[in-house]
């Protein structure tokens, strides 16, 4: 596990971010958005994306002062040991909660849509086994894998979308604003945490080749993600109309079941492997994030060794809900709502503290440890 620390480049970085956030569109996140915003749901990623520019901008601003320091060190420096511990602990709880909820959802997807007879624990176990194995390889390796597989995943997604547009009805998009402009803005901004993962990206700051790569990569990734999410969600509307999507828990999987190509009527098994690869890579990153946070908070230097035990814990916690399709859906909704203020306020707070401490003025002289 003693990997030589090699810094990762912009391609790998963008691929990581896209797999972390972009994959959300294939689980039940779109359903949550459509539920409140009706058929303007596809705008939510755009609106949220525009709002998210603000906290991300502030964070990048703060982080440019501290060259090559991660969120952990910057937080320790700005808030002091005690408050920093609390904040990072909240972040860990949120991240750990999110990874439990999300893995439970993905297990549920695999279990209900593809492997109906297989016991949940086996599906869940294999999922976490692969992710834990991936995460123990190290961040650089996760980045490499993300970049290696990313083009193929994107191609498979677009292939599905092209087939969808051919079979859908474009008129379903109207009325464009759904319940009205104000409703759309209000309800979507409450679910800003769609992009909360960006906050966690700042944990990886020291692993990225250079500051410019990080900045450029983050912005580019944000743009790509907004495009990806909203285009896919528009396609859902074309195919199902909003009423159906509100009922469907996993629209992507219904979509790949519905589309057909010539004589191949059922294509889901063709898209499944690509989606699975994305899933594995995504949760490897999440596991790694959890391990970094946990390791920092409880002073464990070789945090890679934590990953297998974290993964085991996740399996058992994620197995608790007896009816994941509904219960986890509920929890996830709450989590999205609760995390939104954290994502918006923490960067603001960091920026304000940095400002009051006068960090921006003597940025050049500063050299924290």
């Amino acid at each position: 596990m003693e990997q030589s620390k090699q810094l990762i480049g912009i391609k790998e970085y963008i691929a990581i971010v896209l797999l972390m956030v972009g994959t959300k569109v294939t689980d039940n996140t779109p359903t949550i958005l459509f539920e409140y915003i009706k058929n303007a749901g596809w705008m939510a990623p755009i609106i949220n994306g525009l709002i998210a520019i603000f906290p991300i901008y502030l964070l990048i601003k703060v982080f440019t002062i501290y060259k090559g320091k991660s969120l952990l060190e910057v937080s320790d420096h700005l808030f002091g040991k005690f408050f920093s511990f609390i904040i990072l602990f909240i972040m860990l709880v949120v991240a750990f909660g999110a990874v439990i909820v999300d893995t439970a959802i993905y297990t549920d997807i695999i279990g209900t849509m593809y492997f109906t007879k297989t016991p949940t624990i086996i599906v869940y176990g294999i999922l976490m086994l692969v992710c834990a194995y991936g995460a123990t390889r190290g961040f650089e390796q996760i980045g490499s894998v993300a970049w290696t597989v990313f083009p193929y995943l994107q191609v498979s997604l677009f292939f599905a979308l092209i087939l969808t547009i051919g079979q859908g009805n474009t008129a379903f998009i109207f009325p464009i604003l759904g319940d009205g402009a104000w409703e759309v803005v209000k309800e979507s901004s409450l679910r800003l945490s769609l992009y909360a993962d960006f906050l966690y990206l700042f944990l990886f700051y020291p692993y990225i080749k250079s500051e410019i790569v990080f900045k450029k990569g983050t912005w580019l990734a944000l743009v790509f993600i907004i495009m990806n999410l909203s285009i896919v969600m528009v396609c859902y509307i074309f195919l199902f109309d909003y009423k159906t999507i509100m009922q469907l828990n996993y629209p992507y999987h219904e979509l790949i079941r519905t589309i057909s190509l010539g004589f191949i009527i059922n294509m889901e098994a063709f898209f499944l492997p690509f989606w699975l690869i994305a899933t594995f890579v995504r949760f490897s990153i999440y596991l790694y994030i959890n391990a970094i946070l946990f390791g920092h908070l409880f002073k464990i230097k070789h945090f890679e060794y934590l990953i297998p035990s974290l993964a085991t814990l996740i399996v058992f916690l994620g197995m608790i809900p007896e009816n994941p399709t509904f219960i986890i859906f509920d929890i996830k909704e709450k989590l999205l709502l609760m995390t939104s203020p954290l994502f918006f306020l923490l960067p603001l707070l960091m920026w304000l503290v940095a400002m009051f401490k006068g960090e921006f003025k003597n940025a050049n002289k500063r050299n924290i440890r």
């Binding site: 790998e12 695999i110 390889r137 390796q141 490499s144 970049w147 009527i265 890579v281």
Partner: protein, 506 residues
Amino acid sequence: MLKRSLRKTHKKTISNEKSSSKDIKLKESDIPSNFEETIDTFKSIYSYPDNQDVVLRPIDISGINKKSTILFINTITDSKAIEDYVISPLLNNNDSSKKVEDIITIQSIKTKSKVGDIITKINQGNAALFVEGEDHAYLLGASNFESRAVEKAQNENVVKGPKEGFNEKATTNISLIRKRVKSENLVVESHIISKRSKNDLFLLYEKDLVSDKLLQNVKNRVNSLDVDAIQNLSLLEQYIEERKYSIFPTILYTERPDRAASFIEDGYIVLLMDNSPDALVLPATFWSFYHTSEEHYLRFPYGNFTRLLRILALFITLFTSSLYVAVVTYHSEMVPPDLLLAIAATREKLPFPAAVEVFIMEFAFELIREAGLRVPSPIGPTIGIVGALILGQAAVQANIVSPIVVIIVALGGLSSFAIGDISMNFTIRISRFLLLLSASFMGLYGITALFTMGIFYMVSIKSFGVPYLSPLTPSYASSGDKIFRKVLQKEILRPGYLKPKDLKKR
């Protein structure tokens, strides 16, 4: 701790090992000043006259009137050269003022005074000349090991391009490389890597290209070997590789001098040894196993067509049988109804589940392949008959396997030959079985899980510090010769992951 203490108590004392300190001391010392004593020493070292091929011939050098003795092993020495250029000039000399070096007309003469050095040289096929009253021996280069001629490369065939292959003689192999790289910067370093058999290893590199760190790394690894004998490169490969249990090879093995030369020109290091009709190229990436030299000899579209075939063949080999099992067992709804009915109809009478059926056939195919390799060539055709008739037709007629499985296995087997490199071929074949196993347990989910783990594993492999999938990821400046190649004029960069001293090819 318990383990350690147990191991301590169980440590056996090796009792009947004789002390060789006397021998070592002798080899470290200079040759005795007394001429007779010197000859006796070497007689005892070489067990003369029990040793049949050791020749000791006393010569009285006429002219300068000195006694001398020539010692060589006649099976590995060119006796004709010794006779013509050493013995007869010494016997026919008339000039009393000439020195010994000037009398002998053989092309290479060295002087050595340490017993050990002299022995090493004699063992390498040189003749040693001891002259009365001189405190050193003359070592005359006349080695002549038996070897075959330069022949066609056996395993890496090309249709277009040079056909020469390496043979078992390192000097020939070096000459084949020098023929292609006519540069004073090509360095051929020699290292003795084994303690008892004194096997020679040749390190070839271009000194103005190769990265010093890489070179040092390789040298350290080669020099830190502590073994009695390493006969050839296939064995050496296993001594110097990093991950001994990994199914992925990390050192490239080629028998084509043109390929070795082109790697040297890119800043790689090539290892050569006697008794090895091949060269080791290090470091190796996944792509070097996937490429062959022919793709660059063929014109751009043809070369890339071959590459396309190969990458398809790679995936067909890896996935056909496992996908068949996964689809038939877990995802039958994916198959179009007509085909599904056809498959179901052929499987109607079969006693086995699809997974077992495919396993049987895959195993049989591997058996045929192994048998075809080992069988003496006069009875070779039998294998074809057995394979085609019994396993193909009779198995289907006996309702052991369904016809579609025969197609699937044959397709996978055929495609596996597209990967020319023998190590990578094994990797693919073993992975195919692993994928088949995971497919029979978890269908597509299992295949994908194993595949993802495989990729995670592949990106974490390093060959002498070079990531296995570079330059794909992590990306480096290079000519981008990955799945497809570029037009030659655009391949202007040496691979950046080697950190060559000169990145740009002119």
